[in-house]
Amino acid sequence: MSDVSVKKGLAKGLIKLTVLLGIGFIFLLLLGKILPAPTEDGYRLFPVIGSRVWVWIIAQLHLNFAAFVLGVPIFAVSMEYLSWRRKDDRLDRIAYDFTKLFTLAYTITASIGTVLLISLPLLYPKFIDHMMRILGPTWWLYIAFMYVEVIVCYYYYYSWHKMKDKKGAHVAIGGLLNIMGTIMLLITSAWVGYMTTPGGVSETGELVNRWQAVKTFMWIPLSLHRLVANVVFGAGIAAAYAAYRFIASETDEDRAYYDWMGYTSAMISIGFSLLLPGVGYLLGVEIYSFNEQMGIQLMGGFFAWLWVMQAILIGAILMFVNYYLWISLNKMPGGERYFKYVKFLFIIMLLGYAVWLTPHSVALSLDEARKMGTYHPVLGNLGVMAAKNTAVVITYLATFLSFAIFKMSNKESVVSWVKLGNALRGLIVVGSSVIMLAIGVYSYMVTSSVRVKVLSPIQFGIFFLAIIALFILDAKMFKGAKIIGEPRWGKMPERSQYALIGITVTFTWLMGMMGYMRSGGRQYWHVYGIMKDTSVDAFLPTHGYAAVITSIVTVIFYALMGFLFYGIMKLEKKGGQGGAKA
Amino acid sequence: MAIWELRWFDFQAATVYVKYIKVLLKEETVKKVFLGALVIMLLLPAMVFAEVKAYEVVDVKDGGSIKGKIKSSGPVKDPVLEIKKDENVCGKSAPANMYIISGANEVKNVIVAVEDVAKGKAIPKTDTVIDNQKCEFVPIVAVAYVGDKYIIKNSDPIFHNTSLGILLGEGKKRTVYNLALPNKDQVIEKPVKVAGLQIVQCDAHAWMRAFVYASKSPYAAVTNDKGDFEIKDLLPGKYKVKIWHEGFGETIKDVEVKAGQATALDHTFTKK
């Protein structure tokens, strides 16, 4: 592998892409001829499982891989940049490992994309006609960028070792790669944005202004949301990869490295995930301002229960994260001093989790409904947004404290104002919690618009202020602190790695479910308000059905990922390059 | 019960208690209650006496008597009962035996009773038999004496129940006894406790009826086939005499009884 020259690599990449696209177009032409003509409404039916399920699975898989190949480069390039500035080889190795990962993943992504490319026009000819008419040029733009991206990507990968001495330039190429990726993300978001919150067309679906059709309500918020989610997802996948390698490792050294890698990736993933509610909020605001009806439908109508599901999932993720951090105390010299705090954090997490998964209106048995009506008089109060927001900020704060504990567990502050510092820390934690709780209680008494538009942002603002304050305080307190001992990387029980896997799988599943929700917001429209879905699949399936499909997609995705990981390991064994520096 | 349903403090009850306490604390009330208790204690023996006052047995010497004949203004046709139940025992139809009137228009089964007698001779120890025979009460009219017994019999192989009740008019009554006689030769004895004219019925055979005059004194009689009756050993004085027949109804006559003499009391009923 190391022998492959940059040129050859580039050629390989370009040929692959061209061949795939070619196959796609040829299949499209051929099948278009062979297959029976679409129905009057403009549909063809995919055999057995139906068009919707087929496109759903393929699109979701494609999306997952795309998220991976867009998210991981951001992560990899930042690592490389850090390694370059800090002269830390470990980081460079991580970066290289990831580059390997996403370069390989490109092929899979493109292959699945090809299947999608064949499927969509064949199964939904009328709809795709419409899309092409409105947003056709962006599609050619998309192909063009795809080529550029492949070139940049392969160049970036194959020139890694050649450009060892020109790190700056190499990092710049990485930057370019990410810019390309973001542009592609913007283009695809524009498509989805147009479908959900169309603009720039007349009521009958005639193009009025193409730029308006691209620049829809959803475009930027959705892109932002996806960008952040991609980073979280990419880092999560990296953590999962590290976990996988950790478990598969045979030497202590490898284990130490992959432990560290898993930790770093997971923390980045979680760190960025703190931004998600914010960008999600933006997205929600835009949807509401496009069409109140759709917003309410998504938040409180048909999909209300999916937010409970989301709560269960995010609660599980936070639990996994905390668990990972607590278990990590084992490997910190001096970590055992902090086990006594874990109990309290655990109880807070548990209570927060309980609040978060309490549904507002409960699906009841008949007897229960007769006894208490639709809402439980007590539980009903825990089910509303006021309680949920409060619970989430407090559990986030607890998670941050777990992280802080982990960070300082092997240090002892030497500054003179230790006592004052500790008091200050306590004050920040307790004070902010009390304020957040008070705002939560106050939220019950105001109208929903005040709650959504004023109090919730204040709660989140206080949360961020609190963690920033804690962060600065800790940095000051532990400046030049006495270090009890270096972390014993690799001294982690295997089960901690399952927690990492759990985080990533849950996150992937969550992405799938949110996709169902976003797409469901359109209800029985291909393009909301412009083009009706008149196919047999025009209805929204039940949540259970969606959950099963999401699970299937996730399992397929991880099976493919497994092959990818396995392939990399095989490559390493063959070439030895980039593997553990034994 | 859910906690919030529990009334920790029952206001309604509390107001009543407070009222009681207020009343109790008033000086006058305390006095009143105390004196009241005293009076009741003193009056108690008197009350007991008042109860017993009902009928006083005395030795009657040289008493008078009432004697007479009850007649009808003319012959009355006795109705025939149609029987739809237990026909094998009761037969298809039976005479009601309501108007048993002789050729001379003398009426049988008329109750003649001297009312509200305060004193007199001892009550005879004669128990009153009520027999269910072929779906008919035998006798149809009888006199019973308070303190004695009813002997209620079933001579039929079928179920009868015997229900006695004070007649209140318009088909209404007040039950005195309602006793089951499910089998043949069943006998039930019951004390005669409630005084007055009573109807005897069998709910199972609604046409069956009899009448019993439960008397507190020994001074009551039923006319015989010739419409004759006699009431003996009355203390001299003025009395009210009740003459009652199932079909003809009731009249009350004032009679003065003189010592050692027989006062005649005849009456003729007219069918309305």
Binding site: Y244, E292, Q293, Y498, T542, A547, S551 | -
Partner: protein, 175 residues
Amino acid sequence: MKGGAIKLFLVVVGINIFFAYIGLYFLPQSQSLPPKTIKIEKGIPQDELIAVGESIIFGKGQCMVCHPMKPETGMRAPAIATIGAEMVKSAKERNMPVEAYVFEALVNPSSYIQKGFENMMPPVHKPPTSLTEGELIAVSAFLQSKGSNITINYPDSVPVLQEEITKEAKKGGSG
């Protein structure tokens, strides 16, 4: 450590089965069906018209997304239960016929906003709701039945409705 990989995969599958299970058994299972087109014939009896209107309010029109049935605190939009009477009142205030007011409220809702509410209602004859003329009239009749006399019927009220629709279209053109 091949066992490790298998174990990991089992964990992944297990987690997914668990989530699918939650989705299947914890969440209420209902489908959201696309609305059916409702045929309204000429000279339809009033109570049937109202019934159709009601079904649109709860179904195709998706009015219940914003409008509560009963007045409640913090409601987004006026309550349905008293809307008929309210509309009569407002029409009187604005000195226009009640029918015209009702139709305007449906097809040109931003032209007059009830006190205390925000301008957020979309014109319902346009996509995505896209109610037909007959459906609009049915809805109007139903709204009138909530506390006022019903004066709207099909097809006599069509001209009034069309006038309001053209007004709205003109406004859209100029603004």
